[in-house]
Symmetry: C2
Amino acid sequence: MPDLRPLVSLEHGSSGVIEARKGRAIPVGKGQSLKLINTHGKQVIDFFAFALDSTLKPLPPTELVYLSMQHTRSGNMRISPRSGDKLYSNHRKTMFEIVESTSPGGHDTLVPACDAERYRQLGVQEHHASCAENLHTALEEAGYPFPHQLTPAPLNLWMNVPVQEGGALAFAEPVSQEGDYVVLKAEVNCLVVCSACPQDVTPVNGYGQEPSDCHFEIY
Amino acid sequence: MPDLRPLVSLEHGSSGVIEARKGRAIPVGKGQSLKLINTHGKQVIDFFAFALDSTLKPLPPTELVYLSMQHTRSGNMRISPRSGDKLYSNHRKTMFEIVESTSPGGHDTLVPACDAERYRQLGVQEHHASCAENLHTALEEAGYPFPHQLTPAPLNLWMNVPVQEGGALAFAEPVSQEGDYVVLKAEVNCLVVCSACPQDVTPVNGYGQEPSDCHFEIY
């Protein structure tokens, strides 16, 4: 049983960077809003969240509560959640409300975080950073005891996965622009992990673009 | 660490019933085909699968490999897999090929297994059987050490979740008919769990119909 230390939630007015190709754990208290900013316009953030108890301690591994895309789709009866929708946990409870999303495009709930195997299948020979690795590194550094072999489905902010006739999917460039942002209001204490997706083989982060930094604010 | 006993895969020619509202664990060997039959026509089966090693022992909890809907959508670039498509694990490896699916309708990958909370939210006061409970009961009885608090997204066979304009979802009656079947060829040894969905509050299993038995064959 790991030592479950309390995490310190960030003060109102805090802000920071989510570096290109990297993950960052961001504790968010109940009632706080997290503003995620697509600083350069085409960067996808893989967004994960894990519940903390009332003293900001991680829940024990036997009582894991985390953001779940299957329950978010079912809770909103929509593939891609939009302003006013809720983000739901694996227990069907609200974790966040999407207060605002300025991009005319949506956010993807259908495809998994990139991982080492994804890059191998794309022909990359050497090590390549991935959202799955970023997630587990960030959780480990934060002391959150999530089973290393599991990677929940992320909310892929600004990721553009058009659903075509007959349910066919595609990977397209984001339609978001510089400065587009999403505001998520937390309804529970939680540890958020954001990964500025390191994908540079497919156009997930824009044609001919390198992964770029994003920024966040808490208020 | 639980005792990881080998499971016995079923012989070619075996067959059986998946009772209405109940779950059943079915070990399937690499190369075997599992035929799932919608005996009465409108019954949804929540389908889960968990890898076994070459001696048919469960993988240890730190190396969980299980059927993943997010990776199945991404692997086929399609929301609903069809004949000829593969079903992928959380490691992006093939677990099954869909050899045949006779229903003109598809199979759902978008919504979660029903669970106790789902029925509470639908206004059911007393205990109600659920696919999540059926899954965990079946795994426990089979001796498969899957963490009880996790319920992977199921492949909801014959479940009709139309995707409408703008990505809105609905729950509709299955379009499958008596005797429709799906044949899944296993590319790895695995433990399948099928739950004949106990949903009787929404039209998931047909308007005005009670959940009904389904059947399976191994060959």
